[in-house]
Amino acid sequence: MYSAFGIVNSTGKRIWVDGLEVYRPIGAFSFMGRYRVIDFPISNMSNSGIDRIQVYVGKNPRSLTDHLGTGRHYNINSKRGRLHVLFSANTDEHDIYNTDVSSYLENMEYIERMHNPYVVIAPGYMIYTTDYSELIDNHVKSGADITMMYHSVDNAKDTYLNCNILNLNKQKGVLSIEQNNGSAKSRAISMDTYVMKKELFIELVQKAKNTSSLYTLADIINDECSERDVHGVAHHGFFATITDFRSYYDANLSLIDFKTAIDLFHDDWPIYTKTNDSCPTQYFETASVKNSIVSNGCLIEGTVEHSIIGRGVMVKKGAVVRNSIVLANSIIGANTHVENQVVDKRAQIQHVKEVISAPEKPGYIKRGDVI
């Protein structure tokens, strides 16, 4: 295997999720009850033998730095390897100057210090599994300057609207990168995942800066497509982008189907996360749970259907939870009815007996709210 270091970045300007984002960056979002979104790119890297990983964090770094720790739970050797959290001083999420390129520039010293000849860049807001060591092999063998991953979809008209698409020629050469404007159904969605030489990466970052203060890595690569050999590699298997509230809700619920889940999780490809040392979940006599994902540490006396229940949640007697995502340590009070909701951490549904939204517009209960 060729030696590469990894970069996980979610400070690009396009990704803004209402609601949950106020408290924490996308990478720190709870996913399927027991994971955080960022567990996926980091586990992919760790499983691919990449043990030096830079994670760029912006606003509200606490939840991400707490979760990442020193990376031991991602099976990264703490001496030889390193999960290095790097901060951007420019922390305003809405600031248009807050690009991925600006975060690289701020921390260029740490990029330059890396011994590895290659870099793998992956986004902190996409859910997929892939073996980057194969991607790097592919990159080296093909002789390309840059290798990018894409995922072909046929529902690009009304989804993935916050994503970039790749225009590819027959040899999978990338002709251009542009934002998905919803004008066609079948598209190659850019997975914001790149392999290139470290030197080229540094050169592109400098070039992006010299071109425009608003340029992202994707923008400068788009400019370079005509000059350089930019190669696209297709990804197969589960793929989801977390770019808005709806895509967060849909990606979670879609994985309740076990057949979908095994398209994402593979036996020899562990997805690591930080343990919370919760005990197993206790189901009481009155419980009725179907078609759901349940985390540890829950006390369940009520009814749960087609939902994801986070760690340490209580579902009290007579309560009904349906088509919902309930995050850690929330309480669904006795005889309440929660449907089509995302209930954020430590929220309590106690007094209002019905919290039901329309399926096409799921609702959101704020963190720590008592309603």
């Binding site: 399927m32 979940t281 179907k290 349940v294």
Partner: protein
């Protein structure tokens, strides 16, 4: 406060042969319990939560799994700078050949050099195969307050069962005046829990003497404690209240698991102020399928449930297929119950598969059925 003033030694050498096939390939302290734990997680987590930094684990029988399990001290946070969990099997020395530990006291005696290297003031001796939560720092505080030579944790047992235990007879201040091993006519109901605090310097002297004594069985209960009492040392009983279980048999292991299903079970594994730490296993979350029917159960991550579960405890990675029924039973890690199978009053061992339509255990059995081998399906 000086760190490491008390070092803990966990006796984990026992085979636990009354657990039959469960302990063929692993020592008893490594046996699984409570959905995601191993028994030895309890003394180790108690140590971590009591602020003890250094723990020696004395192993002997089939210790490869136990050794690698406890060596990962990170599981209990016991991997900080000056702390650790150290596996202490018998060893060859310049002046001694490799030899088994001759008794509980001998296992400590053979590791005097290990303990000396930490120069602790107090040594805490624990069993590796009891399930309970206890704050040893409170016991140490009482030991200090009493200015005791040794303190022994005791629990009140029903007087009619007292003759099964080592019984401590105490005076009104809690000082132990007599120790009787399994007395026919017990004078008190204070049973020793096998948890001792000693002043290390004094214990060290006694152990050195005991090693040389040819008529000693080198056991704490049989030799060291009686010798201390004979020498008029001040021994105090430390009364423990709460859940405590020695799971010596398949029935008692099953019972201890069933205890967790009580609405307000005394062990309370959900208490955030006294967590029990264990291996962090990488699995999928717990999947509950469309045909599942779960009532009164304790189920952990990695389980995939699509059948009926009543009054049962399911360990990591257990699978119950659609149409299967699991009642009054324990499914150990990775056990699989195929569709249409029926499991009642049984303990299904690690990784064992109950085939389609098979029936194991019975609602009327006196004892719990231990299923340690795959059961073929009925087509």
């Amino acid at each position: 406060m000086k760190q490491n003033s008390m070092l803990a030694m966990i006796l984990a050498g026992g085979r636990g042969s009354r657990l039959h096939d469960l302990t063929n390939k692993m020592a008893k302290p490594a046996v699984a319990y409570g959905g995601k734990y191993r028994i030895i997680d309890f003394p180790l987590s108690n140590c971590a939560n009591s602020g003890i930094d250094v723990v020696g684990v004395l192993t002997q029988y089939e210790s490869v799994l136990l050794n690698s399990y406890v060596a990962a001290g990170r599981r209990w946070g016991l991997d900080a700078k000056d702390s650790g969990v150290f596996v202490l099997p018998p060893r060859e020395k310049a002046d001694a050949n490799l030899n088994v530990y001759r008794g509980t006291a001998d296992s400590i005696s053979q590791n005097i050099d290990f303990i000396d290297s930490y120069a602790p003031e107090y040594v805490l001796i624990l069993s590796g195969d009891h399930i309970y939560k206890m704050n040893y720092s409170k016991m140490l505080a009482e030991h200090k307050a009493n200015n005791a030579d040794a303190t022994i944790a005791v629990i009140e047992v029903p007087i009619k069962e007292a003759s099964r235990f080592g019984i401590m007879n105490t005076n009104e201040t809690g000082r132990i005046v007599e120790f009787e091993e399994k007395p026919e006519h017990p004078k008190s109901n204070l049973a020793s829990m096998g948890i001792y605090i000693f002043n290390w310097k004094q214990l060290r002297k006694m152990l050195v003497a005991d090693m040389k004594s040819s008529d000693s069985s080198h056991d704490f209960g049989k030799d060291i404690i009686p010798a201390l009492l004979d020498n008029d040392k001040t021994l105090y009983a430390y009364k423990f209240k709460g859940y405590w279980k020695d799971v010596g048999t398949i029935d008692s292991l099953w019972e201890a698991n069933m205890d967790l299903l009580n609405n307000n079970n005394e062990l309370d594994l959900n208490d955030p102020t006294w967590k029990i730490y264990t291996e962090d296993v990488t699995t999928l979350p717990q999947y509950v399928g469309p045909d599942a029917n779960i009532g009164c159960a304790f189920i952990t991550q990695g389980c995939i449930i699509d059948g009926e579960i009543k009054n049962s405890v399911l360990f990591t990675g257990a699978k119950v297929k659609s149409g299967a029924r699991v009642i009054d039973s324990v499914l150990m890690p990775g056990a699989v119950v195929e569709s249409g199978a029926m499991v009642t009053r049984a303990l299904v061992a690690d990784g064992v598969k109950i085939g389609k339509g098979a029936v194991v255990g019975s609602p009327d059995s006196e004892n719990i059925a231990l299923i340690a081998k795959h059961i073929k399906g009925v087509e």
